[in-house]
């Protein structure tokens, strides 16, 4: 592996510039856009194109030279003598020189056009990655991660290779055919026309093929991603599949998806083959005509054998590019469909961004206020939160209870602005969350999510995820507070143990505690536990909470939980129902009220039949 030196090479350019450039040209056709983008490497592009043109011309001299050699060997029969030998030698040397030069220029052509493609790929990847990270939760809710991966891998590839497999190849073909046509026509108009007669046919067939292939490419991609999804979900949910003896059902799903893709793949093969075969045929047909007509001309003495041979050689030289026409057509088809999707992704509006002139959040007293907050998920018609208002001060704990779907997680997600509220205000120390920079906001508000995502890396790196420069002591302290340190020290490589999909598997409770430690490292002013202690026993939970309180007594803690013992010491408990706060107060207040909270409490503490008897 290459070890990069600190500092950037000049050719690498600035990463942010690349991202900005990739976004430029909104509204242009994808092919224009990628062409302009590729031309950001003018030096390499010019080298590639220049070398292509020279290589093509050199290639065209070869038939000439061969024809010349044949005439020299043939005509000179009558003349005889050393002159003929010498002439042949010269032709041979020129031929050799032309071949070597052509090889070198082809090298330059291929290398630099691939290099442009790799650079473009690098830059597009940066733009893609950047965009993935910037698009808000609601976009990621909507778009399947598998589809995004397809865009970032396949579509990006189709696009980045357009310069070499599409543009440069086109130039090569145009020069070969154009200059070749001029050379042929200037030698013999009729024979030239015959030799080139396959060109319009090929052009027609390839554009027809392009249209068909382009349309099917898109559908095939969709079908394949369905198939991928079926397989992925099956393997990920294998326990559910087994638990329900769903194997047959799954195989049926697989077969349906697979058949659909297979049929289309077959159709694509047929379209492709039909067109390439027809193109090759038209090419050979033209060659036959040249042989017939040219042969007659030679017989009539209007043309030399060498000229005829050079016509025929010229055509063999064209044979390769003509066969490549199919690839070129494919490249255009692919680049324009891939481009459409890739750029649609890149141009997707980022719903949640810093306002122009946003200032960093300044925490002074630490007061969080919800003022008549309403929220409806984008794309949904039913409001999820209706008029939520409450206030929390530094050092306070807010408890939230409610049935599944009552809006508890949603409420938590609004504070760090994962979604923007529909109406109302959420403020931290008087600053509305929409007016401050996202970065400062999210550093101050930590949400410990319901389901924990772990990265495939060491435990240490996972804990330090939000603050990679955290000192060792800080990481250990966070783990201690989360009651995870002892467990980690018992692992074979303690903090260096790799977790995540490829590492040791942690139990639900351990994952939750790791996630808590990860948030603690940030030292947030507001910390939300979203049902994130469901798999942790109450004793441990209590210890976690007292440890946290010891280190940050001025923090706002928000606890969403079903276990009432988790939140009965809260300063304020909110009872949510269908996105409304239907009861609020302290544990004692709410018990005294004798409403829903009371009923819930009774359910948890008393045997059910006693309760039923009481009702």
């Amino acid at each position: 592996m290459i070890t990069l030196k600190a500092g950037r090479e000049r050719s690498r350019g600035d990463a942010r510039d690349h991202v900005a450039a990739a976004h430029a040209g909104k509204g242009m056709a994808p092919l224009t856009r990628i062409t302009l983008f590729s031309l950001r490497h003018p030096f390499q592009a010019i080298l590639a194109v220049g070398a292509t043109i020279i290589a093509a011309i050199l290639q065209l001299t070869i038939p000439r030279l061969l024809g010349q050699a044949i005439d020299q060997a043939h005509n000179v029969l009558s003349v005889a003598g050393d002159g003929a030998q010498e002439a042949l030698l010269w032709t041979a040397l020129t031929l050799l020189a032309a071949s070597v030069a052509r090889g070198l220029f082809t090298l330059v052509q291929n290398y630099f056009s691939e290099s442009v493609g790799h650079h473009v790929g690098y830059e597009l990847r940066l733009a893609f990655y950047d965009k993935v990270q910037r698009l808000s939760y609601s976009y990621h809710d909507r778009v399947h991660s598998g589809d995004l991966i397809t865009i970032g891998l396949l579509d990006l590839d189709g696009l980045r290779m357009f310069f070499s497999t599409g543009l440069v190849r086109t130039i090569l073909l145009v020069v070969l055919i154009g200059v070749g046509a001029w050379m042929l026509l200037s030698t013999d108009v009729l024979l030239g026309l015959l030799a080139l007669s396959f060109v319009p046919f090929v052009a027609w067939r390839s554009s027809v093929a392009q249209l068909t292939l382009r349309a099917t490419w898109l559908i095939l991609q969709q079908k394949l991603s369905v198939l991928t999804r079926v397989m992925e979900e099956n393997l990920g949910g294998i326990r559910v599949v087994r638990a329900f003896s769903g194997q047959k059902h799954e195989l049926d799903k697989f077969d349906t998806a697979s058949k659909a893709a297979l049929e289309l793949a077959h159709r694509r093969v047929r379209v492709r083959v039909k067109n390439t075969s027809m193109m090759t045929f038209s090419f050979f047909a033209a060659m036959g005509l040249v042989l017939w007509v040219g042969g007659n001309k030679v017989i009539a003495g209007e043309m030399t054998v060498g000229t005829l041979a050079s016509f025929l050689t010229f055509m063999t030289i064209l044979q390769m590019p003509v066969r490549q026409l199919g690839l070129m057509v494919n490249s255009y088809a692919r680049a324009s469909t891939c481009g459409e999707r890739f750029y649609a992704f890149l141009d997707a509006p980022v719903e949640i961004e810093d306002k122009p002139g946003a200032t960093p959040l300044k925490i002074s007293n630490g007061v969080l206020r919800f003022e008549d907050v309403h929220f409806t998920y984008p794309g949904s018609t039913v409001p999820t939160l209706n008029g939520i208002s409450f206030e929390a001060k530094a050092g306070q704990t807010i408890g939230i209870v409610g049935a599944p779907g009552s809006g508890k997680s949603t409420l938590a997600h609004l504070i760090p602005r994962f979604y923007d509220i529909t109406s109302g205000r959420i403020t931290l120390d008087g600053q509305e969350v929409r007016d401050v920079t996202l970065q400062s906001l999210r550093r101050s508000v930590a949400v410990v999510q319901q389901d924990t995502f772990l990265f495939t890396t060491t435990i240490e790196n996972n804990i330090a995820y939000g603050d990679p420069w955290a000192k060792e002591r800080k990481i250990e302290r966070a783990a201690e507070s989360a009651q995870l340190h002892n467990y980690i020290m018992g692992l074979p490589a303690d903090y260096d143990t790799v977790v995540g999909e490829r590492g040791v598997s942690l139990s639900g409770g351990q994952r939750q505690r790791l996630s808590i430690a990860r948030s603690l490292v940030l030292k947030p002013a507001v910390m939300v536990f979203d049902d994130s202690t469901a798999a942790i026993d109450a004793g441990t939970e209590h210890r976690i909470r007292s440890a946290i309180r010891r280190f940050a007594s001025d923090r706002i803690t928000m606890i969403i939980a079903h276990r009432l013992s988790s939140l009965m010491h809260a300063d304020l408990i909110l009872f949510l129902e269908d996105g409304r706060i239907v009861e609020r107060g302290t544990h004692e207040d709410l018990l005294a009220q004798g409403g829903r909270y009371r009923a819930l409490y009774d359910l948890q503490t008393r045997p059910t039949d006693d309760l039923e008897a009481a009702q």
């Binding site: 060997a73 990847r125 991928t228 194997q247």
Partner: protein, 631 residues
């Protein structure tokens, strides 16, 4: 503590202390290029090609014809020149030559059509067949294997490796043609004129030798390119899958810089690969040039001496321009073949995975007629046989009973339920369902009679209706709605504009976690099985909703057997009987009153009035989980 995984990642932060961070993993992928020919693998793979062998034979025949016409065309032209166009030729021969040419072209056209369609379609078929065989095998492979294996790795078998096989198949028929073309050209040149042929062909072994030296470093470069490419892709996938956490912890900036480094490193290695690939171009062109020059000089001299006809020289020149193509593609084919062998080996590995759990040949079909009893008879079980998770556990659940299984986390509750379904094989003792040892009945029928709600809700892409119904094709819409009503999910489903036909986004991300749990609950109800197993199915559900579900269950469980793993004492009290597990052993059993009388762990816990088993302080669960303080 090590600081970073790889030195190279430091570059993103010049002048700073290296962060404790990386994006993506540093996977060490298994070898990509193995042996080029491995008879065992070939035999296995051939089994998938065999059904299409007629098409393959047809394609090979076509490719031979195709190659034949390619060889013939220069001959025809050379012949035309010598018999019709030079002084003393017969003009009529031109007609013959053009006629022959026309036939050759038609054959060429037909053959290439047949060959490409056949090969393309066979390759696609084989690809899909192999993928299906692997997928079907994975449905039967033991769960302990699946527990250990990442989904990503299996997906690369199902996609990457089969594609390598497809590529190999597509190109292998063509390389048969290449091989024939190569020998054909040699033969034709030597027979046209042995002396000129030999001189011309001298460059051929030169190319072979160059390729032999070039191949090993080039292959390494290509392999490295392949490797960094997939590492970069892995980092990207991680960025997508973990995007919520990334935004939550504000890691975008650091990740971007790290990814930038990774992608740039990839770029450089790709460029090295390109250099290796392209360096061959001028070499081949130079050799072609040498051969052409030789033909011109030597052939020309021979024509001048009258030793050779000019048409032969023309034919030579035609062949020379083509004869490096097959060498080039054959050496490329060698790498493809090596890669395909490795892929083939990995594919057969999946196909040969032990299923461990298989139906006996005389396995009975368990029907709904059975009584629904469950018995554990001295069951010993461990994921690792040396460390038993269940130690000699015996209990019986009578038909129609509802039994609660309780115990601290890690005591083996989930594992015991897995045995009822025969996810794993017991090491000793027996699990008996409906009077039959689970090993004596078919797994499919067992699965139909045992429905489970698992600890982690898992939903599939599709509508809510499809998810609740899952594989119970006979379930009507009414059944689905009834189940949803029973678990209290109907209300929120009904609120969606499309009701039960609402598409779930990826794994139900547009639902709350509790709602997802309710749906997986409803799915188990629709399965209409004789035995219902609930594994902490209500962890993310409030007590009130849980109570509703319980009430519904009381009706639904009539005539069925229920096994409930639960935490909240309120849930447990309703059970007919309670089984207390601790550290893999059954320590108490009986109904609430009996256990209270017994005065064991259960009564202690109950008297302390904890709302949930989870609330038991560690100290109470004496000495069970020494190291792991909980969970």
């Amino acid at each position: 503590m090590s600081v970073v995984d790889d030195e190279s990642e430091v570059a993103a932060f010049p002048g700073q202390r290296p962060p404790r961070a990386s994006v993506g993993s540093h996977r060490i992928e298994e070898e990509v290029f193995g042996k080029a020919y491995d008879p065992k693998t070939v035999r296995r793979i051939w089994a998938y090609v065999k059904p299409y062998r007629l098409k393959i034979y047809l394609a090979v025949a076509a490719v031979l014809i195709f190659t034949g016409t390619q060889l013939a065309i220069p001959l025809i032209i050379g012949n035309a020149i010598d018999t019709a166009l030079v002084a003393g030729g017969d003009p009529n021969n031109l007609l013959w030559a053009v006629g022959a040419f026309a036939i050759a072209v038609l054959l060429n056209f037909g053959a290439s059509w047949v060959q490409e369609t056949q090969v393309g379609q066979v390759a696609e078929h084989v690809l899909f067949d192999m993928r299906r065989a692997m997928f079907a095998q994975l449905q039967r492979v033991s769960l302990s294997y699946m527990d250990r294996t990442e989904v990503g790795r299996l997906m690369s078998r199902l996609q990457g490796d089969v594609s390598a096989m497809q590529e190999f198949l597509e190109t292998s028929v063509i390389s048969v043609g290449d091989l024939v073309l190569l020998f054909g050209i040699v033969a034709v040149l030597l027979s046209l004129d042995p002396w000129l042929g030999l001189v011309t062909l001298i460059t051929m072994p030169v190319l072979f030798i160059i390729r032999i030296f070039w191949l090993p470093p080039a292959k390494r470069a290509f392999w490295a390119a392949h490797e960094t490419n997939s590492l970069t892709a892995g980092a990207m996938a991680e960025g997508i899958n973990g995007v919520r956490t990334v935004q939550n912890l504000d890691r975008q900036k650091v990740n971007f810089d790290l990814y930038d480094d990774k992608a740039y490193q990839n770029l450089r290695i790709q460029l090295t690969g390109s250099k290796y690939a392209q360096v061959m171009v001028p070499i081949v062109d130079t050799l072609t040039g040498i051969s052409m020059a030789t033909v011109v000089v030597v052939g020309g001299a021979m024509v001048l001496n009258g030793a050779l006809q000019v048409g032969v020289v023309v034919a030579f020149l035609f062949y020379v321009q083509r004869f490096f193509d097959p060498i080039r593609s054959l050496t490329m084919q060698y790498s493809i073949m090596q890669r395909a062998m490795t892929s083939g080996r990995r594919i057969t590995e999946v196909l040969d995975l032990p299923t461990v759990i298989e139906d006996k040949s005389d396995a009975k079909v368990l029907t709904g007629e059975m009584d629904g009893s469950v018995e554990f008879r001295n069951v010993v079980f461990g994921y690792d046989p040396k460390r038993p998770v269940l130690k000699n556990v015996s209990f019986k659940v009578n038909p129609g009973e509802t039994v609660a299984v309780i115990g601290p986390t890690g005591s083996g509750k989930t594992s015991a339920m897995a045995l009822v379904h025969r996810f794993y094989e017991v090491q000793d003792g027996a699990v008996i369902v409906g009077g039959h040892d689970v090993r004596d009945v078919t797994q499919e029928s067992l699965g139909e009679q045992v429905a489970m709600v698992l600890q982690e809700p898992f939903l599939f892409t599709g509508t809510i209706f499809e998810n609740i119904r899952y594989n119970k094709a006979s379930a009507t819409r009414e059944d689905v709605i009834a189940a949803a009503k029973a678990v209290g999910a109907h209300e929120f489903i009904d609120r969606f504009a499309n009701g039960y036909d609402t598409m779930l986004e990826q794994r139900g991300s547009n639902l709350s976690l509790g709602q997802r749990q309710l749906l997986s609950f409803a799915r188990a109800l629709v399965a209409d099985a004789k035995i219902l197993v609930l594994d902490e199915a209500t962890a993310n559900i409030d007590s009130y909703t849980e109570r509703q579900i319980q009430k519904a269950l009381e009706i639904l469980l009539k005539g069925r057997t229920g096994m409930v793993i639960a935490h909240r004492l309120a849930t447990i009290r309703g059970a007919d009987r309670i089984i207390v597990l601790q550290n893999g052993e059954k320590i108490e059993e009986g109904n609430h009153d009996q256990l209270m009388e017994l005065g064991g762990l259960y009564s202690k816990l109950y008297n302390m009035n904890y709302a949930s088993f989870d609330d038991i302080p560690d100290e109470m669960v004496a000495g069970t989980n020494a190291r792991e303080s909980s969970t």
